[in-house]
């Protein structure tokens, strides 16, 4: 992958945030909070870190793969896919509308390039990513598999089945990440179902941990990803704890669970877009 400057990547983030807000606003439906929060990480992966081909092939041989387990953050992934050439940017305007390939949650059924498995029902993506990583090993394919999860998602039991399995089977061509924004639908995670020390939990399950303390700072994200990559191939899976702020980039959305699944109205959209530079042209 061509390496971009931090300024350039931040510019992409600004445009991607605009896309997400406009998509969610247009159908008054979707999940803006985590999309804004995870933006730097997913942009860094697709525009800088992953070796991938926008001429999409389902089998993904010889490419790094990305799985979004917390599928409700679909707007972010769709924007990043479109902006990196998987499909035309204008198609973002069909998000969540009838007859669209851009389903509410990511799906393969309509054949949207870039999507390899449906997600939305939480807790399944890590298992899928581990399976794909083991197939890469069987195929002598030295590329990596990336999996993104939410922090509320850590409450699903299947996540811990997968955690145990990946360490036991030494799946070390895998970099998973948890979007640690400490928010879920019903409120702060510590009030809904306290995750306590997630790093200690994953470490106890046999994973190597990388903390990205400033998950909305592009330089920190790139540095954390470089460290995570350096830990692959050592017999243990790698987990990134990505400390982010939900709703980052829009002052009235930041740091609260209230925008988890709520769309901005016309006035709020205008206010939000005023805070985000249009760098690549709106769709």
């Amino acid at each position: 992958m061509e390496k971009h400057s931090i300024d350039h990547l931040e510019g992409i983030c600004s445009q991607v945030r605009r896309d997400c807000l406009r998509m969610v606003h247009a159908v008054q439906s979707g999940h803006p909070g985590a999309a804004l929060g995870m933006c730097e990480y997913v942009v860094a992966l697709f525009f800088n870190e992953m070796e991938h081909d926008s001429d999409f092939k389902m089998d993904g041989k010889g490419e790094d793969l990305f799985f979004l387990s917390n599928g409700h953050v679909s707007a972010l992934w769709y924007s990043v896919l479109a902006r990196s050439g998987y499909f035309g940017v204008p198609e973002l305007g069909t998000f969540r509308k009838i007859n669209s390939r851009l389903q509410g949650h990511p799906a393969t059924e309509e054949g949207l390039p870039g999507i390899r498995i449906a997600s939305g029902s939480l807790g399944q993506g890590l298992s899928v990513g581990i399976g794909a990583a083991q197939t890469k090993k069987l195929n002598q394919d030295d590329k990596l598999v990336y999996v993104m999860m939410g922090d509320g998602e850590q409450q699903e039991g299947q996540v811990w089945e997968a955690a145990m399995y990946a360490a036991h089977h030494k799946v070390d061509n895998l970099i998973a990440a948890i979007d640690l924004n400490r928010q879920q639908i019903d409120g702060p995670t510590e009030k809904v179902m306290d995750l306590i020390d997630l790093g200690a939990k994953w470490e106890a399950f046999g994973w190597q941990i990388v903390n990205i303390e400033k998950g909305n700072d592009m330089a920190s994200v790139l540095e954390g990803l470089a460290k995570a990559k350096s830990l692959t191939g050592q017999g243990k899976p790698v987990m990134i704890l990505l400390h982010t702020e939900m709703g980052y980039g829009v002052d009235f959305m930041v740091g609260t669970h209230k925008w988890h699944g709520v769309a901005p109205n016309d006035e709020q959209l205008e206010n939000a877009l005023g805070q985000l530079e249009e760098t690549l042209g709106d769709y």
Binding site: M58, D59, G60, K61, L65, F67, A107, T108, E109, R116, I117, A118, S119, G120, S121, G123, Q124, G125, L126, S127, V128, G129, I130, G131, A132, A133, Q134, T135, K136, L138, N139, D141, G157, Q158, E161, A162, M164, Y165, H168, H169
Partner: protein
């Protein structure tokens, strides 16, 4: 009783259908390097040991974590592997329904969900393990192929056929030692019903272990001057509606026989076909909205009305309704 009957199919050996799966999987592994096996701590019960021994690098012990197993299998298809998952039918379906629905069926992944110890004939372990709803659950899922073979040979043939079939599939088999009455060299065509015995008065559509009971029932009916046609519906989905309608057009009435709840299984599939195309009397042989219990397979099939005697009764009832 069987000994004195003039059976159209006979057997010299009995074997469990799960062994047909295990032997089929081993052969599939030899034929195709992309076949991989996953098992949730039931290698012996699923007869996957031979595959594991010969192909250790293509076999994955998952531990007691069925949800993870389904997700892993879905992921392994990305890059061209053909995963066969193995656990009991109960843990292959009800326990992991949402994982199958999203990661396998909706995502149209080439995963073969192989399920042993299905139905009452699991026996002494009792109702917690005797799933009788799995065919219904699986056939409701779009993209899913559902197969329930009748004996060792057919289960082995079905396992091999699944290697070349692209798409999600559910393969159901069982634990008890059961007559081997179909040929070892049979061609297994997914979705194609097999007319095993030609008849003219009533059609018996049977699946799984109850195909053997249908063969016995045909001989019993013949002694009473009733000509029954026996059709082996090894594929519940896609259902061979043409074979069903052709037969009922001739006989005018039918019986369905399955080791499953009356709700949602083979009987309902046939009823749906008949009612839309050619309404005709249909009697169900299956479990009537109850759970099973501990006992021997033979005792359970008798108590819950799933044997040849009950198929005979149902056939007479269907005939009387013509």
């Amino acid at each position: 009783m069987e000994k004195t009957l003039d059976l159209k199919y006979t057997y010299t050996e009995k074997k469990d259908t799960r062994s047909g799966f295990g032997d089929g999987l081993l052969e599939a592994g030899r034929n195709n390097p992309n076949v991989v096996g996953l098992c949730a701590d039931l290698i012996g019960s699923l007869k996957m040991g031979a595959f594991q021994k010969e192909f250790p690098e293509r076999f994955f012990q998952v531990g007691i974590a069925e949800a993870n197993m389904i997700g892993l299998a879905a992921g392994m298809t990305i890059g061209g592997k053909i995963p066969f998952t193995g656990t009991f039918a109960n843990f292959s379906t009800g326990r992991v329904y949402d994982q199958i629905r999203q990661s396998v069926a909706y995502s149209d992944k080439n995963v073969k969900i192989c399920a042993s110890h299905a139905g009452l004939t699991l026996g002494e372990d009792g109702a917690t393990h005797q799933i009788l709803e799995d065919l219904g659950m699986m056939r409701m899922l779009p993209h899913m192929t559902v197969i329930n073979p009748c004996d060792y040979n057919q289960t082995k043939a079905a396992t091999l056929a699944l290697v070349d079939h692209v798409g999600p599939a559910y393969l159901r088999f069982g634990r008890p030692s059961w007559p081997i009455f179909t040929p070892a060299d049979q061609k297994f065509e997914i979705g194609k019903a097999w007319k095993m015995i030609e008849g003219k008065d009533v059609t018996i559509f049977a699946t799984g272990h109850l195909v053997w009971e249908a063969v016995v029932a045909e001989a019993m009916l013949r002694e009473e001057g009733i000509s029954a046609e026996v059709i082996n519906i090894h594929t519940i989905k896609p259902l061979d509606t043409e074979a069903i309608l052709d037969s009922v057009a001739k006989t005018g009435c039918a019986v369905s026989a399955e080791e499953h709840q009356l709700n949602g299984g083979l009987g309902d599939s046939i009823a749906q076909t008949l009612i839309r195309n050619h309404p005709a009397p249909l009697e169900y042989v299956g479990v009537n909205d109850s759970f099973g219990e501990s006992g021997t397979p033979t005792q359970l099939l008798e108590k819950y009305g799933l044997n040849a005697e009950n198929i005979v009764k149902a056939a007479k009832k269907a005939l009387a309704r013509k």
